[in-house]
Each structure stands twice: as C-alpha cells, then as structure tokens.
C-alpha cells in the first residue's frame, strides 16, 4: 500500500474512533485509547517509511469540492510531521489509558481525543486548500471541546472562550491567505497554487496572513495569549498533544506555504519572522519563569520553543531569498529537528505534570515539594525532560538549539547588511531565552520535586500509573536517543529539507563517531555520543569516588540553622522566591512586575503582606484596546437592531443603489 493510502486510512480510523467511543460501552470503550495508540504508532511508521524512501505519493478522494475532490499527498515535509504526530500521539494515547481509569467523566474527552489526532493527521495530508481548511477547523473545534472538558471551572470557560475566538481569527487569516494563493482563477489544489506563483508583494501579504493564522495556533507573540490559558486547562494527555503536536501542525502549515507553495519571499519577510520568533522566545520563557502554576509554566515554555522554531524558519527564509540553499537547509533542518525534539520533551513534561497534578491535586508549584521521594520514577523521567528542555548536553534540546546557533553564526554570509546586523541580535535574544529556560526549569523541578513537602497532599503523593510511566519512558528514550545520535535524525529529515530548499545537510551517518558536521569541520562540530559518554563516565567516576571515600552512612543533620531558624516547609525556597531576581531584573519592564508591601500600622497585630503582580504585556498593549474597540463598534451597530421595517428596506435599497452606482462608475 502506498504510504499516503495508509496514512489516510489511519486518519479515517482515528476519526471513526470518536463515534465508536459513544457506540460501545464497557471494556470496548476502555480499549479506544489503546486502539488510538496503535494507530498512532502505525502513523509514525508510515511517516518514517515515507521519509526513508523520500518519495511523494498522492491520492484523490471523491469527497469535498465536487470538481476538486479531496486531494491528499504524503511528501517528505508532511512525512516529518506525520512521524512527529505519530510519536506524540502514541505517547499521549498510551498515557490516556492510565488517565481514563481515574477520569471522573471519561466521556467528556474520550469521543474527542482520537478524532483530534485524526484531524491533525488530515491537516498534514491535505493537498488542496479546501481539505486543509476543513481539517484545520475540525482540529480547532475538537481541541476546543477537549479544553472545555472541565467546564464547571469558570477559568476553563474563560480559557475556552479566548481559545475559540483566537482559533476563529486564525482560520479567518488562513482563509484569506489561501484565497490570495488561489488567485482569481480559483485554483485550490496545492499543485495549481505551485504552478502560478504570485507577485512578490502578494507573497509577502500571504506570508503575513500565514503568520497570523498559523502563528495564532502555534502561540507566536503577540498571538500567544490563549495558550497559557487553554493548554493547561485540558486533561494532561491533551495538554501534551496540544503543546507537543498541535503547535507543530501550525508550524507545518507555515512551512508548507512559505517554502513549498510560495516562491522565495522578499528578504524583509524573513527578518520579520526572525524578530517575531526571537521575541516570542524571550517573552515566553520570561512568563514561564514567573509563573506559579506548573502546567501554565510548561505552556509558556512552549511559546519559547515555538519562538526558537520560528526564528530558525525565518533564518531559512532569509537564506533562501538570498540564494543560499545550503544554509537555508541548515536553518530549516534546525527548525524541523527542534520541532521533533520539542514534541518529545514537552509531551514528556506535560505527562509528568499530569501525574503530579493527579497525585497532589494541585497545579501550584508552591503546594508541592519533595515529590522525588514519593514519585521516584516520575521524578527521574521529569529530570531527563527538564534537562533536555533546558538545552543541556548530551540531550536533544542542546543538539537542535546548537544547530539553530550554527545557522545564526552563518548570518554574515547574507547579502543584506540589515540582516547581518539583525540576526546576531536575534541570536543574542535566543541565547538569553536559553539561559532563562535553564532557570525556569531548575525552578520548576527544584520547587516541585526537591526540598520538603509543603502540603500534606504532597507528602502523601502516590506514584504515577504504569501507562503514563511507560509513555514518559518512551519519550525520555526519544530525548536521549535524539540527543546522543542527532546525525541519524538529521539524515532522516534530510529529504524534507531537500524538498523545501533544494539542498540538504551533508549525510551524517558515515562520519567517524557519528560526529555532527553541519557545514564543515572548521565551522563547528558536535558529537552527542562522545559528550554523553564523557558525561556518563565523569559523573559515574565522581559518584564512585565520593561513595568510596566518603562514609556510606546516610546522615541527617540540621543544615544551617541561620537559614532555617524554623523548620516550617514554608521557609524553603519557593516558586516566587526563586523567580524573584529575574522578575526584578527583566520583569519590571517586560512584564510590568510590581511588588507592594503592606505593613500593618504599629500596634496592629495582623500580618504584613507582600503582593507580587506581573502581567502579560500583550493583554494591556493589544487585546484590551481591541476589546474596547469591538465593544464600541458593537454598541454602535446595536442601533441597527431596532429600526422600523421601512428603514430596513431603505438600508437594503440604499446599499443596492450604491452597488449599482459603483458598478456604473467603475464596472
């Protein structure tokens, strides 16, 4: 069977699992997530096979627009993301098997989750504008239904509303973009769009609309505001899917249009993407640093990683318009590699956060602590995840961010001096984001898992269920494997880079010791395997030496009593105290962070109070004026609600005459 047929069948089967969940009861219903896991593994296999062969297969189904049908295609670019979706979907579905057992209302998520996967797969396979938008909208609506699972919580309803508005806005932008691409002739097939490249300014307009449409789904600043609300509100496996996979589907949409359907854009279009990406990276991770809610912090970190991916994509656009396919392939490979890596590590972290949420009943970091003793397996796997996402070698986050910086360092080759100045600045922002990411995840892991339990619930937390642990373990293996052997992953995604840029990184598999050499050995090399071996050996050696020379007896003693005059758990470093230095240095200007101390007057025995406020600047700068504008317009338009019949007729008549006049004057 050609890969595209197999993928289409899998998408259909996943979509059909939703109604099946309603049709069957009992054990058959419990097997839905297992079936979804299997189907996702099959999808991953299909994507991998299509990548290994590097071929493009197409299929036309007799549904959709009557003269067009539903065109499907599985080319290397789609295959990379089908692989990503298969792996992420399989892990989330596997974890859902465990989640299902303790889910109080399983029918709120079960009928939506497998079809959500199927709709995302359909987005990746679509090869005409109609099928693409249709699948995209189904994906948006199903994910909205999943966000609204816990609909009794007012915050969730608010998140669902914001998400729905942003999703509708994004689809509108995509609709306009595809309308511009199809042109007056209305060629909605992707091959027809490729055959008729529009004028350069139209290309820039289309890319702008795609940035709005795909960027709002991916969480690009300033369209990110729904993401920290909606991703954490969903059940944790769904949060993993939304952060790990759905944002990548949005990245796919942008790559598909920017590199495959459109000719090279003007160079300044690339620079806009770079600036937006770098800005997203810094703002996203800064939000994560000050966030007190574990899942929201993870969602904010998604904004950061999407920013990194988009910055690399913008670099690839700039290199492509400058006529440097090899460097464009480098930047694009970095973007694709980081997308894959982020899927693995963010899914891992969200599944872990879900386990912690289930165990402690809270998402607030300041109500956790000491979980490493109660949930050792979760803690070990989470440690691997935070190490990966903090971009520490030898894990995968470091490998892909290193590649991004290789592309940044190649920027002097660009012909435009504006870009030569801008790209290093953006690189500086990315470096800042990477450093802040390390701080954010040290804080997240340290406050949640280390120290002493801050609440009785944290002190009695049970270990995660086996299905979730298995899913996390598989994802951790992916992180480790992609970190140790990045060359093999890059070879796997090379056909996609070649398809989009006309060039690819040199083959890495035959390098001695699997060294990663993206451009040339003189420009920079990285060997994940050797670094990993060195880290393992030196850490093992140090541990051995310490254990041999030091006493093996476990000792518990008062630490420094001046640090802990009272042995209350609250006297530990908390989430807020850990974030304080960064909040004071960067948050004052970027997040408008303020601290107010309320001291009771002398003689008043009530407690002093320190209030810390920090807000996402996008709300005040962009969304609040927008909301006021919409309200004012609505209040004005409300007058038209209560006209007499004759006035309505006059309105119709007047607009008809105006149209006819326009036609007579300019027709």
């Amino acid at each position: 069977m050609p890969p595209v047929d197999a993928a289409a069948l899998i998408a259909g089967a996943l979509l059909a699992l939703g109604p099946a969940a309603l049709a069957f009861g009992g054990p058959a219903r419990g097997a839905i997530h297992a079936a979804a896991t299997l189907l996702c593994l099959l999808a991953a296999g299909t994507g991998g096979a299509a990548l290994l062969t590097g071929t493009t297969t197409t299929l036309t189904l007799p549904i959709g627009l009557p003269w067009l049908g539903a065109r499907l295609a599985l080319d290397p670019l789609a295959a990379v993301f089908v692989l990503l979706l298969g792996l992420g979907g399989a892990a989330a579905s596997l974890s859902s098997i465990g989640y299902y057992r303790h889910d109080p209302a399983p029918l709120r998520s079960l009928p939506f989750q497998p079809p959500f996967l199927g709709a995302m797969l359909a987005v990746l396979l679509a090869a005409d504008a109609f099928s693409f938008l249709m699948a995209w909208e189904v994906m948006s609506l199903l994910s909205w239904a999943l966000v609204m699972v816990d609909h009794r919580d007012a915050a969730t309803r608010q998140a669902g509303f914001v998400y729905l508005v942003m999703a509708a806005f994004g689809t509108l932008a995509l609709l306009l973009a595809f309308g511009l691409m199809a042109g007056p002739a209305g060629g909605y097939g992707f091959d027809a769009i490729r055959a008729l490249p529009p004028a350069p300014l139209t290309v820039a307009a289309i890319l702008g609309l795609m940035l709005l449409g795909a960027g709002s789904k991916a969480g690009l600043v300033p369209l990110h505001v729904w993401l920290p609300l909606a991703h954490p509100a969903a059940p944790s496996p769904v949060s993993a899917l939304m952060s790990g996979v759905m944002t990548k589907v949005a990245v796919y949409a942008f790559l598909r249009v920017a590199f495959d359907l459109m000719p090279p854009a003007p160079w300044w279009a690339g620079s806009a993407v770079i600036v937006l990406g770098a800005g997203s990276a810094v703002l996203g991770i800064l939000l994560a640093v000050v966030e007190a809610d574990m899942k929201r912090a993870l969602a904010c970190s998604t904004i950061e990683n999407i920013g990194v991916i988009f910055a690399a994509t913008g670099l690839a656009l700039a290199f492509r318009s400058g006529g440097m396919p090899a460097l464009a392939a480098l930047a694009l490979s970095a973007a694709l590699f980081h997308a894959l890596n982020h899927m693995a590590m963010k899914s891992l972290l969200f599944l872990g956060a879900g386990a912690v949420l289930h165990a402690t009943g809270t998402r607030m970091l300041d109500r956790m602590g000491g979980l490493i003793h109660r949930m050792p397996a979760t803690a070990a796997l989470m440690l691997l995840g935070v190490t990966a996402i903090a971009a520490l070698p030898p894990l995968n986050g470091f490998a892909s961010e290193w590649l991004v910086f290789q592309a940044v360092l190649a920027s002097p080759a660009l012909p435009q001096s504006a870009l030569q100045m801008l790209v290093p600045a953006a690189g500086g922002l990315l470096a800042l984001a990477a450093a802040l990411a390390a701080a954010a995840f040290v804080r997240l892991y340290g406050v949640a898992f280390l120290g002493r339990p801050r609440t009785p619930e944290a002190a009695a937390a049970p270990e995660a269920d086996r299905a979730t642990l298995a899913a996390m373990g598989a994802l951790a293996l992916l992180c480790l494997g992609a970190g140790l052997l990045p060359g093999l992953v890059l070879d796997l995604i090379a056909p996609a880079a070649r398809q989009l840029t006309g060039a690819a990184l040199p083959a890495q598999a035959h390098q001695p010791w699997l060294t990663l050499i993206p451009v040339s050995a003189a420009r920079g090399t990285y060997n994940g395997l050797l670094v990993g071996l060195f880290v393992a050996l030196s850490a093992g050696l140090a541990a051995g030496v310490i254990h041999r020379t030091a006493s093996r007896r476990l000792r518990r003693a008062p630490a420094w009593d001046c640090g802990f005059p009272q042995s209350l758990p609250d006297s530990q470093y908390g989430a807020g105290s850990f974030a304080q230095p960064i909040r004071r240095v960067l948050g004052r200007t970027l997040l408008n962070a303020r601290e107010t101390v309320h001291m009771p007057p002398p003689g008043d025995p009530s407690a002093a109070r320190l209030t810390v406020t920090a807000a996402d600047p996008a709300w005040a700068a962009l969304y609040a004026p927008l909301g006021r504008g919409v309200n004012a317009t609505a209040a004005y338009a409300n007058r038209f609600q209560a006209l007499s019949i004759r006035r309505y007729l006059s309105l119709v008549f007047g607009s008809l005459v105006l149209l006819l006049l326009g036609l007579a004057l300019w027709g």
Binding site: F653, L656, V657, L661, G667
Partner: protein, 221 residues
C-alpha cells in the same frame, strides 16, 4: 421595417416604466390600485409580444395569461376589497414628498439604463434594453416600498417589483416555465400572507400604518 417588432417591444417595456412612474405619483390608495392594474396589463402585453417575437414559446403566452389573470384582475380586486373594508381608500400616505420621489425615480432610471447599456454591450439588442427597463421597474418598485408608510401600498410596490422581474425573465430566451410558475405562486402566497397579516394588524392596532407597529416593539435599545 425590420426594427418595428423590436420597437414595439421597447414601447411596451417603456410603457411599464411609465406605469411605474405613475404609481409613484399616485398618493391615494384606490388610484394606486387602478394604476397597478394597468401595470399588470402592460406587463401581460409586453410578455405576449415577447412570446410572439420569440416564436414557438407557448409558456411565455401562459406567463402573460397568468400575469393578466392574477395581477390584472384577482389581486387588484382583492386589494381594492381590503382597502374598502379597511376604509382607507382616501388616505394620503407618502413619507417623502411626490416631487423628490419622482426625481429619485428619474435618477434610478438613468442609473439602470447607463449600467445595463455598459454591461451588456454586445448582447442581443432586444434583451439589452428590456433588461434596462426591467431593472428600472424593479428599482422603482423598491423606491415605492421605501417611500410609503401604508402596508397596502408596500404590497403594491412589491408586486410591481415582481412585474419587473417577470419582464426581465421574459426578455431572456429559454427561461423555463417552471421558474415563472414558481415565481407567480410565491407572489400569490406572499399576497395571501400579507393580506391576512394586514387584517391582523388592523384588528389589533386599528390602523395599517406601519409606524404603529414600531410603538409596540419591545427590543428597542
């Protein structure tokens, strides 16, 4: 003399436009209904002439017959009965004065002729001017609905608008009968509904002035 049939067609279509103008001019309901009858008769003549010109088009003759029977006889008589029963046959009920309305009507006629002449350059000359006249009749019908406040005259305006549509349909060759019958029936049903509705309004508010309806609306902002 080859242009004589076309000239006659134009004369009839132009006559329809003239009738529309006369309808705008009338500000008393009984006179308005008389002009509307004449409107329908001219329409029937025009459609019949089109049928004659286009040759073997039985269904156009049928359309003319339907127009004559329903719009030339049944509907005006029924409306006249309504007006008599409501006792409003002397009412003067324009919102905008006659002169501005006539001026606006002349403007609309000029607009539709300019528009149609430009858009249909190269089309069949018979259909071309017919379409321009038909658009004028439609726009004048709408104008009448906008400038009157009595429900009966709004019904008349709507009917004359529909006459314009039939004129346009008759000018275009190959218009299937199904469409015409469907349009005729929808008009009939609209007429019945509006007729019933009128009495309901009258029963409840003692007037058929539409402004009275607005006073009882509850959703005013």
């Amino acid at each position: 003399m080859a242009t004589l049939p076309i000239d006659i067609a134009h004369l009839l279509a132009g006559g329809l436009v003239l009738m529309s103008f006369l309808m705008i001019y009338q500000d008393r309901l009984s006179a308005l209904l008389d002009v509307f009858t004449a409107h329908a008769v001219v329409l029937a003549a025009s459609v019949a002439w089109q049928a004659h010109l286009q040759g073997d088009t039985f269904h156009l003759y049928l359309t003319a017959l339907i127009a004559l029977a329903f719009k030339g006889a049944v509907i005006p008589m029924a409306l006249a009965r309504i007006v008599r029963r409501l006792g409003i046959h002397r009412e003067v009920e324009t919102v905008v004065g006659t002169v501005p309305t006539m001026l606006a009507g002349i403007g609309l006629a000029a607009l539709s002729i300019v528009l149609m002449m430009r858009l249909t350059a190269g089309a069949d000359p018979l259909a071309r001017e017919d379409l321009a006249f038909a658009l004028t009749v439609v726009l004048l019908g709408l104008l009448m609905m906008v400038t009157r406040r009595n429900a009966v005259s709004q019904v008349v305006g709507f009917m004359s608008l529909e006459n314009g549509l039939i004129l346009a349909a008759a000018g275009a060759r190959g218009m299937p009968l199904v469409v015409e019958i469907a349009v005729a029936f929808s008009i009939l049903i609209a007429f019945i509904v509006i007729g019933v509705f009128l009495f309901r309004i009258r029963e409840r508010f003692d007037t058929v002035d539409l402004a009275a309806l607005d006073e009882v609306r509850g959703d005013r902002a």
